[in-house]
C-alpha cells in the first residue's frame, strides 16, 4: 500500500470518528432537504424566480462549504498547532501527504453528501435529477475546487485550530448571504446580486441550479470559480507553514 493510500485510510477513519465533522457533512444536507422539502420549498416559486433546484443545490453546496471552510482548515491548523505536521517532517514522509489525504477525505465526503442529496431529491421529494448532468458535474467540480482552495488558505493563515474554525465561520455566513441562502431568486436585494454572480458559493450555486434546470452554467459563474480557485490555491501554497 502506498504511503498516501495508508495515510488517507487512517485520515478517513479519523474523519468518521470525529462526530462534528461527520454530522456537519452528512446530517446537515439531509436535514435541510427533509425540513425545507416538507414545507414545500422544493417546488420552487416562479413568481420570485426561484427554481425547484434551489433546495437540493443549497443543501449540497452548504455541505461542501462546511467541509471546505470549517472541517478541513480546522483539522489542518490543529495538526500544525499540535506539532503533528512537524513530527511527520522528521520521518521519511513529507507532511504534504497528510494535507493531500485530508483534501481527498473531505472531497470524498463532499461527493457522498452530494449523492445523498441527489438520491433524496429524486426519491423522496420528486425533484428529479439534474437535466444537464455534464454541466452539473463541471459546476460541482469547480465549486468544490474554489471552496476547498479557500479552505486551504484559511488553514495556511490560521495560527491555531480554534482560529481556523472562527475564520471559517466568518467566511461561511457572508458566503451564505451572498449566495442567497436566505433570499433565493428575486428575493435577494438587487444591489447584492452582482456579488452573488461572482462570490464562490453564489456562483457555484447559480451554476449548479442552471445545470439542474437543463441549461449550461453562465461563463461569469465559471470564470469566477476558476479565478477564486487559482488565486486562493496559489496564495495558500505560498504561505502555508508546516510548523
Amino acid at each position: 500500500m502506498s504511503t498516501l493510500t495508508k495515510i488517507t485510510t487512517v485520515e478517513s477513519k479519523l474523519f468518521l470518528r470525529d462526530t462534528t465533522s461527520a454530522v456537519m457533512a452528512f446530517a446537515l444536507p439531509v436535514g435541510l432537504m427533509v425540513v425545507f422539502g416538507s414545507i414545500g420549498l422544493g417546488e420552487g416559486d416562479t413568481e420570485q424566480n426561484i427554481s425547484g433546484a434551489f433546495l437540493p443545490v443549497m443543501a449540497l453546496a452548504l455541505s461542501v462549504a462546511i467541509l471546505a471552510f470549517s472541517v478541513l482548515p480546522t483539522v489542518l491548523a490543529t495538526y500544525r498547532e499540535k506539532g503533528i505536521l512537524r513530527r511527520l517532517s522528521t520521518t521519511p514522509v513529507h507532511p504534504g501527504n497528510v494535507l493531500a489525504a485530508q483534501l481527498l477525505v473531505n472531497l470524498a465526503a463532499s461527493v457522498v453528501a452530494a449523492v445523498a442529496v441527489l438520491v433524496l431529491a429524486a426519491a423522496a421529494f420528486d425533484l428529479g435529477v439534474p437535466d444537464n448532468g455534464v454541466g452539473f458535474l463541471i459546476a460541482f467540480v469547480l465549486t468544490a475546487s474554489a471552496l476547498f482552495a479557500i479552505g486551504l488558505l484559511v488553514a495556511a493563515l490560521a495560527p491555531t485550530g480554534k482560529a481556523a474554525t472562527s475564520l471559517g465561520m466568518l467566511l461561511f455566513f457572508p458566503s451564505m448571504f451572498f449566495a442567497g441562502v436566505w433570499t433565493p431568486g428575486d428575493l435577494m436585494p438587487s444591489w447584492a446580486r452582482p456579488v452573488r454572480d461572482v462570490s464562490p458559493l453564489g456562483a457555484g450555486m447559480e451554476a449548479l441550479q442552471k445545470s439542474w434546470d437543463g441549461g449550461w452554467p453562465d461563463a461569469t459563474n465559471l470564470v469566477a470559480l476558476v479565478v477564486v480557485a487559482a488565486i486562493a490555491g496559489t496564495v495558500a501554497a505560498k504561505v502555508f507553514r508546516w510548523e
Partner: protein
C-alpha cells in the same frame, strides 16, 4: 568514530541568539545528554541534528550525513521524539504505530514494539485517552519504529509523575541495549545523572563542560561530608589527624567530617579501631546540580570579569 559531530554551531532567530557556539561529538552506542536550563539552546541544537533547522554557521554531521542537504537519508536513520508534539486525538495506539511503520523501508515489527513498550493492552485506545506516561511511551515507539541508528529524545519525562519517569528511564536503557545511540535533552539533573554516559552542559547557547556525570561532579567538588553520632565519646583529634580528613566539626552529639579521597573507609575503620560505632551515618556528596551551579556560575563570573 563519532556518529554525531557538532562543530561551532550557531543559530539565531531574528536578533535572538538561540545557540551561540556549541561543539560536541557523540560516540556510537552511548547515551549522550544535553543538559541545561530552559532557553539554553538545547532544543535548537538537536533540531539542527534532526534536520528540522538549518544552522546559521558551524557544521553538523550525523552518520556522515549533512542534516540539511541529506535530509532524506537522515530521516531514515534518525528517530525523533519531539518536545510537545502530539498525535491526532482520535488515532489509536496500533494505528499510529502501523502508520509510522509504513513510512520506513525496514520498520520494526509493530506488535513486538508495542509489547516491548508495554502498550499492547492499549493498542485500541485513542491518543486522547492515554495517560502522560503512555503518550510518552507511544512517542518513543514512534521514534523507534523505523529501526533508527540514533534516537533523539527531547524532554522525555517533562510532565510525568515520579513512577512514570522511572519507568521511562528503564525504557531508555532498554533502547540503548538494542544498540541505538541516544541523544537525550533534559533539564532534570537526576535524569541526566542516572541515564547519561556523557553530558554536555549548555548555558546561554554555549557548552560549559562535557564529561561523564561523575567527572562533572568531580570537577567542582572533590570533597565529601560524613555526618554521624559516635556510639561512645571520641576525641576529635583522632579523626582530624587522618590523612584524608580536612575538617572536623561538632553539631551537638553529631560529628561532621569533611575530606577527600577514600573518606568513608578511612573514617569508619578508624572508628572501629577505637571501638566506636558511627550511628545515624549519612554521607553527602556533591550532585550534578551542585556541579551545574558551580560550573555555570563560574562561567558567568569569568564573563563579568
Amino acid at each position: 568514530m563519532p556518529v554525531i559531530e557538532v562543530t561551532n554551531l550557531h543559530k539565531r532567530y531574528g536578533t535572538t541568539v538561540a545557540v551561540d557556539d556549541v561543539s560536541f561529538t557523540v560516540e556510537e552506542g552511548e547515551i549522550f545528554g544535553i543538559l541545561g536550563p530552559n532557553g539554553a539552546g538545547k532544543t535548537t541544537t538537536v533540531e539542527c541534528i534532526e534536520g528540522l533547522r538549518r544552522p546559521d554557521s558551524g557544521t553538523v554531521t550525523v552518520l556522515g550525513l549533512d542534516p540539511t542537504s541529506d535530509r532524506g537519508q537522515l530521516r531514515q536513520v534518525v528517530g525523533a521524539q519531539l518536545q510537545e508534539s502530539e498525535l491526532p486525538e482520535n488515532i489509536t495506539v496500533a494505528e499510529a504505530i502501523d502508520l509510522y511503520a509504513s513510512f520506513y523501508p525496514n520498520p520494526a515489527d509493530p506488535a513486538e514494539l508495542m509489547a516491548e513498550l508495554g502498550l499492547t493492552e492499549k493498542r485500541d485506545t485513542r491518543f486522547e485517552k492515554l495517560s502522560g506516561g503512555q503518550k510518552q511511551r507511544l512517542s518513543i515507539a514512534l521514534a523507534l519504529v523505523g529501526n533508527p541508528k540514533i534516537a533523539v529524545l527531547d524532554e522525555l519525562t517533562t510532565g510525568l509523575d515520579p513512577q512514570a519517569r522511572r519507568d521511562t528511564w528503564q525504557l531508555v536503557e532498554k533502547v540503548r541495549a538494542r544498540g541505538v545511540t541516544i541523544v537525550l535533552v533534559t533539564h532534570f539533573m537526576d535524569e541526566a545523572e542516572r541515564l547519561c554516559d556523557r553530558l554536555a552542559l549548555i548555558d546561554g547557547g554555549r557548552v560549559v563542560a562535557i564529561d561523564s556525570p561523575a567527572g562533572l561532579i568531580g570537577r567542582v567538588a572533590s570533597e565529601q561530608t560524613l555526618r554521624f553520632r559516635p556510639s561512645s565519646p571520641l576525641d576529635e583529634s583522632v579523626l582530624a589527624t587522618l590523612p584524608d580528613v580536612t575538617d572536623v566539626t561538632r553539631d551537638g552529639a553529631h560529628y561532621i567530617v569533611t575530606g577527600t579521597g577514600n573518606l568513608p573507609y578511612t573514617v569508619v575503620t578508624t572508628l572501629a579501631a577505637h571501638d566506636v560505632v558511627a550511628a545515624e551515618l549519612r554521607m553527602d556528596q556533591a550532585s550534578l546540580e551542585d556541579a551545574f551551579v558551580a560550573l555555570t556560575g563560574r562561567a558567568l563570573d569569568v564573563e563579568a570579569a
